[in-house]
């Protein structure tokens, strides 16, 4: 068994080696992210069977928790790190030819850093470490959003940065409060001691943490940055941001709420929040004319649904949420990647300019369609399986409150269907705009077709055989739900 720490160390090392490698050859740095993520993918997947048996706890510096900074590679963590590595790999392949301007070396470094940050977030067992990885993720994404240096990118980056900085400040305050209360930063240790402390003090720290992580997780009133950042970033970065980064935030919230605090009575509030986020996201997406902005708002909606499912506090619910994280990650990455080349081809991000693209870019638009169908939740694509699990979980709870929320949430699904299908319709059945410039740079290279096609195939395959992911979902849900087991594993007996 390889150590999960390699998941962080190797890519980090590779990232910082890029400038050096860049001296040797100009072409090599382009492939470094691919290599790094391929490594991560192989390691994560190979870790999966072990993690399923029992969470792997890596203690740094030879100290036992609670004194050490350690990684906890539970089923959930490894599943998510596999997802990160998978999407990271595919997007890295896509990025080889997609990134055409600017300082490519910096892009590669930041790209790896971002993914390392995300991997760290899902693997760490220490709350401050969580913050640090979070910052790695955030700062690199601020930079990547503004990577193109055009006006919208810079503007979005600046706004993202302002909100992100506030968010991380709040997280830090929360961590300070936690530390002040418990004198420890190990999540398992805190979890073990939570019940011993008066609730309001604890709640304040929880509130700070939720708000802080919520900014990155794009929960409803905290997501002002998201549409800007996701729509202005290069498409490959948008794919990562939507597919992975915001999930990391949500993971952090789930970890904090479930494992650290065990705050089950706050969950109905989160459920409401999730549904509100879902509705707001879908409603805002409905009127969008900019395809990437639309996809960004759709991400907000999906995050709401995931949050809602997480808040169900049942094994099925959390399985559904994790499943939706996977399926949304795949689908949204696919959509952003596909739209990237469509935007190159048409030279515009207007949805109307994409009309009739089905003829000019058949494979890309077919894949886009697959992704869109999956997001709406149409069988036999993976989105259906995940939404199905969520609905099943809600009805399994048998609580009127949740069922009512679900009914409202399903309206969001319908709205989502409406705008996605409108786009798909435009692709195939609307005539191309008269004055559409035929951009020669829009020729889709092989390096873009492969990841997009692979994502579509994955969506279809997992949709047909949800057991592929399904086996991991149960343990992953337990990982979140079962606090005592977590504490036991980390702290040792």
């Amino acid at each position: 068994m390889v150590s999960p720490i390699l998941l962080i160390a190797v890519p980090l090392g590779l990232a910082f080696a890029i400038p050096v490698l860049g001296l040797a050859s100009k072409r090599v740095p382009r492939y470094v992210p691919v290599i790094a993520m391929l490594f991560n993918l192989v390691v994560s997947v190979s870790l999966l069977p072990h993690a399923l048996k029992a969470p792997i706890v890596v203690r740094t510096a030879g100290w036992a928790p609670p004194y050490s900074i350690h990684l906890v590679a539970g089923p959930l963590g490894v599943l998510l790190s596999s997802l990160i590595a998978l999407i990271g790999l595919l997007v890295a392949v896509y990025g080889i030819d997609y990134i055409r301007e600017g300082a490519k070396v910096k892009y590669q470094i930041l790209y790896i850093l971002m993914l390392v940050g995300a991997t760290g977030v899902v693997l760490t067992g220490d709350i401050f470490n969580l913050f640090v990885f979070f910052e790695v993720l955030c700062i690199s994404s601020y930079a990547l959003v503004a990577y193109r240096g055009d006006s919208t990118g810079v503007e979005a980056g600046a706004k993202y940065l302002i909100q992100g900085a506030i968010g991380s400040g709040l997280v830090l305050i929360g961590i300070g409060l936690v530390y002040g209360t418990f004198g420890t930063l190990t999540m398992a240790d805190i979890a073990a001691n939570v019940s011993s402390v008066g609730s309001f003090r604890l709640f304040v720290s929880l509130a700070f943490l939720i708000t802080g992580f919520g900014v990155e997780a794009a929960i409803f009133p905290l997501n002002g940055w998201l549409p800007d950042a996701h729509s202005s970033a290069p498409s490959s970065i948008s794919a990562i941001l939507s597919g992975i980064a915001i999930k990391a935030g949500l993971y952090a919230i789930a970890r904090v709420v479930y494992t650290v605090y065990g705050a089950s009575s706050i969950l109905p509030f989160l459920a409401v929040l999730g549904i509100v986020t879902l509705l707001i996201g879908e409603m805002c997406a409905f009127g969008q004319e900019d395809i990437k902005r639309l996809l960004a708002f759709s991400s907000i909606g999906q995050m709401g649904l995931i949050l809602f499912a997480l808040a169900l506090a049942s094994a099925t619910g959390i399985s559904g949420a994790v499943f939706l994280i996977v399926s949304h990650g795949l689908a949204k990455a696919l959509l952003f990647l596909a739209s990237g080349y469509m935007i190159y081809r048409t030279g515009s991000r207007d949805i109307s300019s994409l009309n009739g693209i089905g003829k000019r870019m058949p494979i890309m638009s077919l894949c886009f369609t697959v992704g869109a169908f999956s997001l709406i939740g149409l069988p036999p694509f993976v989105g259906f399986a995940s939404k199905f699990t969520i609905v099943r979980a809600v009805l399994g709870t048998g609580s009127t409150f949740f069922i009512t929320l679900l009914a409202i949430g399903l309206i969001g699904t319908v709205i989502e269907g409406a705008y996605f299908l409108r786009i798909v319709q435009g692709f195939y059945f609307k005539p191309a705009p008269e004055d559409s410039p035929e951009q020669t740079e829009g020729k889709v290279p092989f390096s873009a077709l492969v990841p997009v096609g692979l994502l579509a195939v994955l969506i279809l395959t997992i949709g047909l055989f949800p057991g592929i992911v399904g086996r991991v979902l149960g343990p992953a849900a337990d990982d979140l739900l079962d606090r005592t087991a977590y504490v036991q594993h980390v702290m040792g007996d």
Partner: protein, 621 residues
């Protein structure tokens, strides 16, 4: 033949045709026809092979559930009906679609819709039912949009309503799962027996919304006229003939296979009985759409509104829960499938030959140019009206008799009035397309190609066959009813044998044939008339040059002026109003994202404050 083989053939056909479309057009056409005919053959061959041998778990573990297929009389009946109409449409498409773009897509989607529908009827559990249902929904959506222009709007309308329906169905299905821990249709039937009537009602409502949207029961019907009139004609035939009737299948499945006859009939009290309310919905669905159809001038829209209206008869028959009524409902389903498909094909043929004209005010006199199409249209409208000798008559007779003997003359009245609305509007269809004067520009119209004539004549044959010998399909329906626990009917090959209220189609057929012969003989006795061209027509002594006037415009103008103010599609208007308002709300919601960073920060801080406030006020943790 196992249901799995049928489904594999269906889906493989769809895939192969798409690939073949990339290779060669003839190969594509050949494959499409071959696979749709092969399906008919396979299903026909599997007749009677019911029982445990044909219950197959094809995915043992889909998120912890089994996906199963099974074949039983109900499934087989609907499967053959789907396959036949689809095959006819595919054959019809050969010449109708010739030279159009994206044919590979078109054919594969036709077959995919077909496969989805077969999947629905063959699925042995609700999860696969839902999956196939959705596959059918989105492939239908793509096919409706195929024609572009206004079709896009129709497609959107369809898919949005369909999504609403599927959400409701998903809730219903999963509620069943949560309640009983299984989705196997066979097991659910036993499991649900003990549950409260409130729960059963909830399930029926949730499912009913989905089925009602597909079935176009009145408040949920608004997608149908647009979708039908905008789809290409062969697909309209499938859409109106079978796809919409999947709702019927769903109702039958849920109401009688699962919930069970006794529970259904005792659901609610007095006037507010479930099946009674459903019947009233059915009755309203008959009357209003039929009269709206009367006002239409677009041939396909007219037929589409009839598709809705005829659905009301099926609901009426089915909701009553008597042997006769349910038999009538099911029989009417296939009958409607046969003649509405026929009529859509005829309109398609006319459209094909006249260059896409469907406006009834611009056609006329085509009987001289397209006799086969005319014959098809005549038979079709006779079926739609329910003239004796056609199958539509028998099923309507069943339904009427149920209504009268069950003591619901008001429902019967609505059904009858609907029939009269039908007569008026379909005669207008026939008259304005085929009768009256032939406009000059259609003088050169040729008759429909052979690949169009074959399906048309086939359906004509079916209509008459089932009309004269209704025992053929009714035997099969009897088989279905046996599985649902209905008392058997006293069927004969030619109708119903039960005393004074019997029906003997063969007698009527003989009587009509003899009367026909006698009258023809009388005709021969008289002087033989002289054939004159249509210009030689009485016009108060003047000779009106051909093409100078055309009179089939605004056929029912007096009535139109009287009733059109009352027959607006208010539901549709309401939906549009609601959609408009919703978009307004969406636009307002978007304004949350002001673009000013300070606002966003304010949101963050307010959120934090809200959390703490909530804790202080209500102790949420």
């Amino acid at each position: 033949m196992s249901p799995q083989a049928i489904l594999i053939t269906a889906f493989a056909g769809a895939g192969l045709v798409f690939l073949a479309g990339k290779v060669h057009s003839h190969l594509r056409d050949f494959l499409a026809v071959l696979s749709s005919l092969a399906l008919v053959g396979l299903i026909a061959w599997s007749h009677g092979q019911y029982g445990p041998d044909n219950e197959i778990v094809y995915v043992p573990d889909f998120l912890g559930m089994e996906l199963a297929l099974r074949l039983n009389p109900l499934a087989w009946f609907f499967a053959i009906y789907i396959a036949i109409i689809n095959a006819a449409s595919v054959v019809f498409s050969l010449s109708y679609m010739k030279g159009k773009e994206k044919l590979g897509f078109y054919y594969s989607m036709m077959l995919l819709v077909n496969a989805g529908m077969l999947g629905i009827v063959l699925s042995g559990d609700f999860l696969s039912f839902y999956i196939f249902w959705e596959i059918m929904s989105w492939s239908t959506y793509l096919l409706i949009s195929y024609r572009r222009g206004p079709a896009l709007h129709a497609g959107m309308k369809y898919i949005i309503m369909s999504l609403v329906g599927s959400c409701a169905m998903l809730v219903g299905i999963l509620s069943l799962y949560a309640q009983f821990g299984t989705l196997q249709i066979a097991e659910l039937g036993e499991a649900i027996a003990g549950s409260s009537s409130g729960y059963v009602l909830f399930i029926l409502m949730a499912m009913g919304i989905a089925f009602g949207v597909k079935f176009a029961i009145l408040p949920l019907h608004t997608w149908m006229p647009d979708a039908h009139s905008e789809a290409v004609s062969p697909f309209s035939a499938v859409l109106s003939g079978v796809l919409v009737r999947m709702g019927m299948y769903g109702f039958l499945l849920v109401m009688y296979s699962i919930v069970g006859l006794k529970t259904i009939l005792n659901l609610g009290a007095g006037f507010f009985n479930f099946h009674y309310i459903l019947s009233w919905l059915g009755a309203i669905t008959i009357v209003i759409p039929t009269f709206i159809a009367l006002l239409q001038n677009d041939a396909k829209k007219l037929l589409a509104w009839h598709g809705i209206g005829q659905g009301g008869y099926m609901i009426l028959g089915m909701a009553f829960g008597t042997s006769l009524g349910v038999a009538g409902g099911i029989f009417h389903t296939i009958n409607h499938g046969s003649y509405i498909a026929l009529l859509f094909l005829v309109v398609g043929a006319v459209e094909y030959r006249t260059g896409g004209v469907r406006d009834l005010n611009r056609l006329g006199g085509l009987i001289q140019r397209m006799p086969v199409a005319f014959f098809g249209c005549l038979v079709g409208i006779m079926g739609l009206i329910g003239m004796p000798l056609t199958n539509g008559f028998v099923s309507k007779w069943f339904i009427y008799k149920t209504l009268i003997t069950e003591g619901h003359p008001f429902l019967a009245f609505m059904a009858f009035v609907g029939t009269w609305g039908t007569i008026l509007s379909v005669y207008k269809l026939l008259h304005n397309m085929f009768l009256g004067q032939l406009p000059e520009k259609y003088k050169e119209v040729r008759k429909a190609p052979i690949s169009m004539q074959i399906p048309i004549l086939f359906f004509c044959f079916v209509i008459f066959l089932f009309g004269v010998l209704p025992g053929i399909p009714l035997r099969a329906i009897q088989g279905i009813q046996d599985t649902m626990g209905f008392a058997p009917l006293q069927l004969t090959m030619w109708g119903l044998a039960s005393g004074a209220g019997a029906l003997n189609m063969l007698n009527i057929c003989f009587a009509i044939v003899i009367a026909f012969a006698v009258v023809l003989l009388l005709m021969r006795l008289g002087a033989k008339p002289r054939r004159v061209p249509q210009e030689d027509s009485y016009a108060a002594g003047s000779s009106v040059p051909a093409g100078k006037y055309h009179h089939s415009v605004e056929f029912y103008n007096p009535l139109y002026q009287m009733i059109s103010p009352y027959l607006k599609d208010r539901v549709d208007q309401f939906y549009y109003w609601a959609a408009d308002k919703a978009q307004g709300v969406f636009e307002l919601t978007r304004r949350i994202y002001t673009g000013y960073a300070g606002t966003y920060v304010l949101y963050i801080i307010s959120f934090l404050a809200l959390l703490i406030f909530l804790q202080l006020a209500w102790e949420i943790w």
